[in-house]
Symmetry: C2
Amino acid sequence: MRGILLSDGKVTYREDLPRPERTAGEALIRIHLAGICSTDLQLLRGYRPFHGIPGHEFVGTVVESDEPQWIGRRVVGEINVPCRQCDMCRKNMPTHCRNRAAIGITGRDGAMAEYLLLPSSNLHKVPESVSDEMAVFTEPLAAALQIMEQVHILPTSRVIILGDGRLGLLAAQVISLTGCETIAVGRHADKLAILEHRGIATTLDTHPFEGSADVVVECTGNPDGWRQARALVHPRGQIILKSTFADQTAVDMSRVVVDEITLIGSRCGPFAPALRLLARRLVDVLPLISQGFRLEEASLAFAHAASKGILKVLLRP
Amino acid sequence: MRGILLSDGKVTYREDLPRPERTAGEALIRIHLAGICSTDLQLLRGYRPFHGIPGHEFVGTVVESDEPQWIGRRVVGEINVPCRQCDMCRKNMPTHCRNRAAIGITGRDGAMAEYLLLPSSNLHKVPESVSDEMAVFTEPLAAALQIMEQVHILPTSRVIILGDGRLGLLAAQVISLTGCETIAVGRHADKLAILEHRGIATTLDTHPFEGSADVVVECTGNPDGWRQARALVHPRGQIILKSTFADQTAVDMSRVVVDEITLIGSRCGPFAPALRLLARRLVDVLPLISQGFRLEEASLAFAHAASKGILKVLLRP
């Protein structure tokens, strides 16, 4: 089949990839669209070793499954494939499975190809009213919703979101649905305009910013985000960390103790509420699409996704 | 009056200190006993600038007050003196007051003297059944209880307490009252024996320790505690930070994100439940007393408190 191979820090378009062979419990999915995520860009830069087909944001149609109700269904899918045996799986935390694979990231091929294999227990049907272009945002929107799973944001809270990348724009939209005072801080007026358009307050971080907040969500994707978050959060406030990067961060733990700050790492989230919000048009994802490419244009697409100011880049097999 | 003065990194016994003059709302307290806390030792090492009478752990008797019901009462007192004006005070977080003084730490004289001034709103009556030697532990026991204010520890949780100093021994006792599986990890068999005596599991950290936990409480007082806590906590677990120290700590934020770890700084806690636990003998504090000194023996007392393996050192005016 046709697809993209990530290997030795390069992506290449290939036409000779084997079509994956289904085992019991798995569904074979024909991919309609796949998204390039910053994790994909980091894999390319060697954030962790991965050799295979990248891509964990997708929408497609099930073409083979043991369970007839899935055949022909348009689906999105959770990216972690747990072992269902380890202590974390037994504690009902499959996304933290000790032996997990994650499609396109570790241990399993991803979605940037004609076909993808995924256990059918990972699948979610996409409502008719949600287009492919919207559905491909289910995974990052679920990651934004994970904040709401972990932190009780009050209607009276003041929340600052740092970073106007894809995740920051989704997080700001989700958080603002609580009715709380939401301020998105970023570096790109055009990206922030997407939020302004929905009535969410934004500010460019080139301006001296004097605010402070009960909750700060760190989506900058760079190590400096921590310092900025720390400076903006109230005593007894919460910092949600969404960024992954290779470097260590120097933290003044004594100030964390004295100010009783809570710091919460946050990763993958729930798909079902993400699909509900998309179906109800409560989150605006289409303005986040920067450009679409064909699989054949793999190198070009990845280079485009990595360039400054670009939001979501989509790939179509 | 007689008292101890901390100045320029030294403690000296003085007989010429002015007896403090009471203003409206304040109580004058004759000190029965004061405790030396590791914060006092850190002030001596320059953790933050302080010139004055140290000491924030005390029990005494009110000798002057506007409010007659306090006169003659045996009391302990909360250490933070808030402004009651700032945003944190208005949010009902007086321990995080932007302009707070803390007796013996910042902006106000402490308890290592014959007399102490404190707003009567900071005072708590000591039940008759709680001796002076027990009551002087109210403040550190309240700090241990702050963990329970911040984190919902379940009866089915597994909790590891790192550090067998004063705070670690109090935290382990308080946490074990939930019925949860509690394991105290320390370096001193004699200190851990205090917990073993109450039926709490302990282990020397010189042994390779293979466990892991839902919650890890970091009370080691040294920067290496973070690494140990991080290695022991489950994915999606919580690390409670109780240690303050001058250095910055290098943190791998990406692993915090991927494992969705929550890190919670924890400082001063509630006095009323601490007194209730002391009155009911649910926490054993007397074995934590290493030695008592008179105020005149200030230098000796501080040197003793700073020496290896010593728990609580008390001062008697």
